[in-house]
Subunit: 464 residues, 2 copies
């Protein structure tokens, strides 16, 4: 009946408010739990700001950390963190509805609407199936990742610690959380290990595509298997969202890796003198991890200045909508670039892949990008104001990383004072809910205009 | 007859191309002239890149400098630089047409169209008068500035050198050029001098408003003098452009000064220990100079990190259209902010001061801001790539300053290698012609829609 009361209260809120309050609630409760003595390793104490920071970085799947995860937390604490990452990754709403399903309750229309708005689905009927599929897909991908990692970690750490590390890393990578149990240097020790590199890059890219693209690809893949579709036509029949996301992801991953390779190959602090294979893997890893994963194989404070600038931009852009990645999102940037190109060519309509992009998407994209820049600017000023003598590059990297839920740092996080910790917590929170709440407030339907045969078709995409 | 040939050739180009080629031509010719031995001071030689750099920084009214102006150049060289600043400030087109006028030639329809497009004028008939008025206004303001400066500089340097410094500084300040003859530290020695501070701040702000606003204010001022208008109604009857520009200028100048005051008052490298008056003047000066003037009274490399971030943003925003200031312009930012606010409030129309802002202005604003960010990003990566080990803050400050034609530097300009010099020259050039050429390509008329009495009126503004 208490649950009934809460449920009634929730019905008075709109979707965005529920999401915002939900995230804040989980962060607060998670912080309280992590504050308990049994969550810290023997001999380790934790302050309240550090506990909340850890909860926030887990739920927001950011990965910045004021403490060394492997040293600070007891096995129970690590399990709590893993749960918080999974909650953050799958999404509060999907999870809340999963609980309802498992309790065999009927999902209320209100709850369906929330999922529908969060996941931009067209059919109300498919909501339960969608939530189940999300969770199934996540566990499947994480399982595959854990098995692959185990081939490396079990020989190194033994069965128990090896499996724990493999599972934790797989969940953390797929949820784009960037948190690991290896100590202070993330995956630096595996910079030349192809299995760890390829598995991590794979998990990050796949989860970064977003579920809609994943299902779209799976749908077409099944049609190819059933010989209903020729493989050469797969890209052409994909949804516009999938085409945009795959194109942008390809461009960002490869051009990013190319630029990092150019600028780090001769950097004596990072890759100079390394074998070509390591140089290539490390470049790809850096390009992919900036797309809001947050692991690293190169110390971020030793990167050359051009690589830092590229990393800042790639972090800001981030991944694709409907996944676990953060940032302003690939589709947002695609719409902005296409719109600028169309304008400079004197075209009134913005077109791509034979589809016309509605003016309203352009405005959404502008709002998402503009709001993100505003948060970035404000938080950078605030953080540098409370941290006297802080370096511009360090503070810009830290805040960009927090707002796009990336988790990369040039070493500022462990040095944060109490005010700095709360500012970064707030930034991670705003960065995580920002695109989501905007997204739910912003979803717009695109109708094929009746009787217009000369105009190009229009199709739904997700912005922000 | 040679002039005739050139004139015929020019008629085949569109306005943007003429402006782009015109600026490039003046920079190149200016560089060749400054390369001549008689332009350098006795015992001083100048390389070709430094000569072109000086011509570019003068014509683009930027103010970055690889050489110490006061030491490097002979009196003839300084006169050439003064001419280049004046050409850049008044604008090539207005000047070219002035020459035609003084030659008593009839201005061709083609030329009128160019001026009309550059200055966004509604009546073709008024073109000659407009050009004359631009030039008159510039000389009047510069004259007043020079007289005020003379009260300070003549007692200090004697009649001749005092007058030269006063005239040079007045022209440089009104044209937002940021070039001076005082040596390596700009106006630092006058940090506590109210006359120099107030005169410089006044010249920068007035010229930064743009001619349209100036004329609008002058028109209303005359009506008040003639008792046709009550002083309290002046703001209400101003053009929308003027209202936006004045509001944005007020917000930026005062909030910038406030923030700089907060963050520098306790900075031992700059204002800590200074009297309150100096603190206030220096804060206002820093706020105003970032709006693309380029003089400084505080060493930019000693500013605290929050002040650096604020200065970067203020530089990027810059001044207002139709003046000598650079940056993406106040009206561009105003339209973007208003549009985001309207969107988040769920309003379809963007409204301000009882006027509706057309969707097309929003797109122009987005294109101007987006293109500027793209140039900024590309040039920052390029410059940091050719300057190994350069600090992110230094390179970001340098390129932002160049692209917005500001002229402030954290000390990187004199250290630039040859490749770096050419990159900054290109950035200054793109920054100067970018908004102009975009502007001419982008001018759009806003009609009052017939028969719509319920809709708010629409009015022309200038973007970028
Ligand atoms: K992350
Ligand atoms: K300037």
């Amino acid at each position: 009946m208490n649950l009934k009361k809460v449920s009634d209260g929730l019905h008075k809120l709109n979707t965005s408010q529920i999401i915002a309050l939900g995230f804040a609630g989980v962060i607060f409760v998670g912080g309280l739990i992590l504050r308990m003595p049994f969550c810290s390793a023997p001999g380790q104490a934790v302050t309240f700001p550090d506990a909340v920071f850890t909860a926030a970085t887990s739920v927001c799947v950011t990965g910045l950390s004021t403490v060394v995860m492997a040293v600070q937390w007891s096995p129970i604490g690590k399990a709590v963190i893993l749960c918080l990452i999974q909650i953050g990754g799958i999404g509060l709403i999907a999870l809340a509805n999963m609980i309802f399903i498992s309790l065999r309750r009927k999902i209320s229309l209100k709850n369906r609407r929330i999922i529908k708005e969060s996941y931009n689905l067209d059919e109300m009927g498919g909501v339960v199936a969608v939530v189940c599929n999300v969770v199934k897909c996540v566990f499947l991908a994480e399982g595959i990742g854990a098995v692959l990692y185990a081939f490396c970690f079990v020989p190194e750490f033994g069965i128990k610690k090896g499996l724990v590390n493999a599972i934790f890393l797989a969940v953390s990578a797929f949820c784009n959380a960037g948190i690991d149990l290896f100590g202070e240097t993330s995956l630096s020790v595996y910079v030349s290990n192809p299995l760890v590199n390829i598995t991590t890059i794979g998990l990050i890219i796949v989860s970064g595509l977003g579920f809609i693209v994943w299902w779209d690809l799976w749908d077409k893949f099944r049609k190819v298997l059933r010989k209903e579709l020729s493989p050469s036509r797969v890209f052409r029949v994909l949804r516009l969202q999938s085409k945009l996301v795959l194109t942008m992801t390809g461009i960002l991953v490869f051009s990013g890796a190319f630029l990092v390779f150019i600028f780090e190959s001769g950097n004596p602090s990072t890759l100079k003198g390394a074998p070509l294979g390591t140089k290539l893997m490390a470049s790809f890893f850096q390009s992919v991890t900036t797309r809001t994963a947050g692991f690293y194989t190169m110390d971020q404070s030793l990167l050359s200045t051009p690589t830092v600038i590229i990393s800042l931009l790639w972090m800001f852009i981030g991944g694709s909508p409907m996944g676990t990645a953060g940032g302003v999102k690939t589709t947002t940037i695609a719409v902005l670039i296409l719109s600028i190109a169309a304008y400079l060519q004197g075209k009134k309509d913005v077109e791509v892949y034979g589809r016309r992009i509605r003016e309203s998407y352009l405005r959404s994209a502008m709002v998402v990008a503009g709001t993100s820049v505003l948060i970035l600017f404000t938080m950078t000023v605030l953080l540098s104001a409370v941290m006297p003598g802080v370096d511009l590059a360090d503070v810009l990297y830290e805040i960009t990383s927090a707002v796009a839920t990336v988790g990369l740092s040039r070493g500022l996080t462990p040095q944060l004072n109490v005010a700095g910790k709360w500012i970064v917590i707030l930034t991670m929170y705003l960065g995580r809910i920002g695109p989501l709440t905007l997204g739910t407030a912003v979803v717009m339907r695109v109708r094929n205009r009746p009787g217009s045969t000369t105009h190009l078709g229009e199709e739904d995409i997700m912005i922000g």
